[in-house]
């Protein structure tokens, strides 16, 4: 806490350069707008952007829900990097200048607000992001045992929060709007390790065995570099590619 005590006194002036644009408004042209606010201890971009909206410009659009890095709503480009804004602390920007742009690859709603929900819904439908099993087990009887390690491996891949940061950092996704991204490949990997899902490699190949699926990946791996949940995307992309390549 001593760190916070020290910064309490100073309160440097931060400079925010924020991309403003409303694609639905024919008059609107993309441009940067500059705001200055005073830094407070422990300030995150969640706190800063709300101050800007409440005190400087009520017309500024952005999305937050949990403000704790759990819900995946607030991905944006922060000084050129796709990050979760709620987990980004202003103190980490030494010169106090923070430039914000919306995540690319998603439908822009306005300013920093993008429609990741629609993209993720369509990805979920495409990879059939649900358990496939011929028969559902009776819920009044003892559950089927699962090896603790296998449950843990499934959980590891289930931690994805669909924030879209892997998609925004992906060169293929920027060129091919139908590319399923690391998030889609990871989802398939998740169901392929889950013993509750009865789909085999043939079924997965049907879903992602093409250039808008696993073979679209150029292995630049910015997805893994930026994933806020540190998912093992590189390993899973390589694993699924090997698996799918042997099918084709």
């Amino acid at each position: 806490m001593s760190d916070m005590k020290n910064t309490m006194r100073k309160g440097r002036i931060l400079t925010f350069e924020i991309l403003r644009y409303d694609p639905s408004d024919l008059e609107s042209k993309p441009h940067f707008e500059t705001f200055h606010i005073e830094e407070t201890p422990g300030m995150t971009l969640f706190i800063a952007l709300n101050i800007i909206r409440e005190e400087h410009d009520p017309d500024l659009s952005f999305d937050f829900v949990c403000r704790a890095g759990i819900c995946g709503s607030c991905g944006m480009m922060i000084n050129g990097k796709p990050l979760l804004a709620c987990r980004t602390l202003t103190k980490d920007y030494e010169d106090g200048v923070i430039r914000l742009m919306p995540l690319p690859a998603f439908e822009l709603l306005k300013d920093l607000s993008v429609n990741t929900g629609k993209w993720m819904q369509s990805m979920s439908e495409r990879v059939e992001s649900w358990i496939h099993s011929a028969e559902e087990r009776d819920i009044t009887i003892l559950e089927k045992p699962v090896e603790p390690e296998v449950a843990s491996d499934t959980f590891e891949l289930d931690r994805c929060i669909e924030c879209g940061i892997c998609v925004a950092s992906c060169a293929t996704a920027l060129m091919r709007p139908d590319f399923i991204g690391a998030v889609g490949v990871n989802r398939i990997a998740r169901f392929s390790v889950d013993p509750a899902d009865e789909r085999g490699d043939e079924e997965f190949f049907e879903l992602i065995g093409n250039d808008s699926g696993i073979f679209g990946c150029m292995t630049l791996l910015a997805c893994e570099d930026h994933c806020p949940k540190n998912l093992p995307l590189q390993e899973k992309l390589a694993y699924m590619r090997r698996k799918m390549a042997s099918m084709g």
């Binding site: 009520p58 929900g117 819920i139």
Partner: protein, 664 residues
């Protein structure tokens, strides 16, 4: 006017709403879910520690069953709950866990053989049965007799939400996000749907349905310091309240969680203490055993939060620029355990506070202080989930007062309630939708839509600069924090009510600077904050009138739990929309129908109960029935049924199989 028709309308896309929607869709109803945000971003995702269900797979859960879960929940509620609902809940919870397993929730499983755990700060070895290997594991939580909280590390809400949301996608439930309910459409005390605003375009439409279910979560954001997501503003409950027909139950029952991190208020799960973490004061002293020798750090949340504030008041807090706080120490659990089972906690602490809780000694201690966490109250509904006064309106999850939690909810019982009530209420809701028609004339619908359109137009026409809606919201949140918090008293509550009423009047003058209908947050605030204020006034006013202390509602000027006068549920109605005060009434809890009559909880302050004479009489009756039936060789299910009959839909009343004991 655009009218959208469906069979079943669900407002709210978190765990409860999605589970209800799946129930309706799978019964062949066309089901629409309206959500403020994409459903997988709902606040359900923030539930960390786990879900209670009496599976009793692990050695620390042996002997657990519905009866034990029932008793823990009733005691936790400080006898404010509806015991029939608790029975419905505990009977269905094991089925819910197993259903979610089928839907892909990767519950943490049991490893056979010895395992080191921390109990009462001592490293202890427990040994799991070979045959239990691979079954669903459970951890300890506050206020429970057994280790009953099933989990996926500390991201339980997230995995549950994804499991249920993916199921809803599979079932092709019509999910529409960035949609907000402004009001309910009703006629002759029957609900027919909602007036809904698209948050992107600003367009207002009618959604008509045979039945409507509200599952919009809690109202934590009426407070400044809360663990709740920014969307938890209580406007769903406010829409029900503004009908003047539906009622809120027990709004004053607000839970303050012991361990949100300071200053952000982000939750650190109860699993921290469940797994063996402890609270420490400015001297590094573990103080909870001094106050609560039996349950220590794992008494119920209301008790721990109060003891913490009591300790801070006694000068034992740690001073900081953000006020005094205490420490949460999980470093004693070891790095390996933290990085496997408490990794989100570790991540939150590292990112927001620069503290790695796995670092040994004081370096790893995390600053915590109690903050608003949960609303036990909500839209009052019957055990079927339907409003007793506005037919065709259902509610479940945190938005409802079903009433599972009474005056204090146990940790692990909220995500459990979302899916369990989603199953039970979803079934009754679907039956209702199947047996009713949309027999409302479009002229009436038009009036409801026009009223909201006119309201928005009126807001946009207000002069700018008279009142600022953001400032009014902050004032409301400050009043709630300072005057309707953990320690309450009549005089302060009176001032809170008066100040909130004044804010409600002022909020009606707040103009907006940008006149666009599209993605206009200030406009949203301008129509939401007055609704939030109606909730806040309901909370403060009900707290002022309840002159006793029960569960999380603690009155310094009335410290006793007063069963004689206050064994009742507050009911709030708001018949006059222009008024700044609601009508407050109540319904009495019938002791003679309780399976477990009021008594001491086993933790918290002793001897602070004004007993009701019927409690002893009913206890005697219960004891007599039990001993007679036991002598007749009846089993626990038959005895329970004789004490307090309850119903469940589907096969939810079937017995639950358990490891080693079968269906006993």
């Amino acid at each position: 006017m655009k009218i959208n028709y469906c069979d079943a309308l669900v407002v709210g896309g978190g765990l409860a709403g999605l589970r209800v929607a799946v129930a309706a869709q799978e019964k062949g109803l066309s089901t629409t879910v309206l959500s403020l945000v994409p459903p997988k971003r709902s606040h359900s995702a923030a539930a960390q520690g786990g879900m209670q269900a009496s599976l009793a797979n692990g050695v620390m859960g042996y002997g657990d069953n519905e009866d034990v879960h029932f008793a823990d929940t009733v005691k936790g509620s400080d006898w404010g709950c509806d015991q029939e609902v608790v029975r419905m809940f505990v009977t269905t919870a094991p089925k819910a866990i197993r259903e979610l397993t089928n839907w892909g929730v990767p519950w943490t499983r049991i490893d056979r053989g010895p395992r080191e755990v921390v109990i009462n700060t001592e490293r202890t070895t427990i040994v799991e049965d070979d045959a239990a290997h691979g079954l669903i594991n459970a951890r300890d939580f506050g206020g429970t007799k057994k280790w009953r909280t099933c989990y996926t590390a500390d991201a339980t809400g997230h995995t549950m939400l994804y499991g249920v949301a993916n199921r809803a996608i599979r079932d092709r439930v019509d999910i529409r996000d960035r949609k907000e309910m402004l009001s309910l459409i009703h006629k002759d005390s029957r609900c027919y749907g909602a007036v809904v605003r698209d948050l992107v375009t600003g367009e207002i439409e009618a959604y008509l349905a045979k039945g409507t279910c509200i599952a919009t979560g809690g109202w934590g954001r009426i407070y400044r310091t809360t663990t709740n997501a920014v969307i938890c503003e209580g406007t769903g409950q406010a829409a029900a309240l503004e009908t003047g027909i539906a009622a809120l139950g027990n709004p004053e029952a607000i839970q303050f969680h012991p361990t949100p991190i300071v200053p952000s208020g982000i939750l650190l799960t109860e699993g921290c203490r469940g797994d063996g973490g402890v609270l420490r004061d400015v001297d590094g002293h573990r103080f909870m055993p001094d106050y609560e020798p039996e349950k220590k750090d794992l008494a119920s949340r209301d008790v721990v939060s109060r003891r913490m504030m009591q300790h801070i008041r006694a000068g034992k807090g740690v001073p900081s620029p953000f006020g005094d706080h205490l420490w949460l120490d999980i470093s004693i659990l070891g790095r390996e355990h933290i990085e496997k089972n408490l990794r989100d906690v570790q991540e939150i602490s590292k990112v927001f506070n620069g503290i790695d809780p796995a670092d040994e000694g004081p370096a790893g201690w995390m600053p915590v202080r109690p903050a608003q966490h949960y609303s036990m109250g909500g839209i009052r509904v019957k055990p079927t989930g339907e409003s007793p006064t506005l037919f065709g309106l259902f509610a479940c999850g945190e938005a409802a007062c079903w009433d599972l939690h009474g005056f204090n909810r146990l940790g692990g019982n909220s995500v459990a309630e979302t899916v369990v009530s989603g199953m039970i209420v979803g079934s009754y809701f679907a039956d209702y939708c199947k047996s009713h028609e949309i027999d409302i004339d479009t002229g009436t619908v038009e009036k409801f839509v026009a009223a909201q359109e006119e309201y928005i137009t009126e807001i946009l026409s207000r002069p700018v600069g008279v009142e600022n809606i953001f400032a009014i919201k902050k004032e409301m949140q400050t009043i709630m924090d300072e005057k309707v918090g953990i320690f309450r008293n009549g005089e302060t509550l009176y001032h809170a009510v008066e100040e909130l009423r004044e804010l409600l009047r002022r909020s009606r003058l707040a103009g907006v600077r940008v006149k666009s209908l599209r993605l206009n947050r200030e406009l949203e605030e301008a129509y939401r904050v007055p609704r939030m204020l109606k909730i806040a006034i309901s909370v403060a006013y009900a707290a002022m009138l309840r002159t006793e202390s029960r569960g999380a509602h603690y009155r310094e000027d009335h410290p006793n739990r007063d069963d004689l006068h206050w064994l009742k549920r507050t009911l709030v109605r708001w018949p006059d929309p222009e008024s700044t005060l609601p009508h407050i009434g109540s319904e009495t809890l019938d002791i003679m129908k309780m399976e477990m009559p009021p008594a001491f909880r086993g933790y918290g302050r002793k001897g602070m109960i004004s007993e009701h004479p019927l409690s002893a009489r009913r206890q005697k009756e219960v004891d007599e029935i039990r001993s007679r039936m036991e002598a007749e060789g009846k089993d626990r299910f038959e005895i329970q049924d004789a004490l307090m009959h309850f119903d469940l839909p589907e096969n939810y009343k079937d017995k639950n199989e358990r490891f080693g004991v079968g269906y006993e």
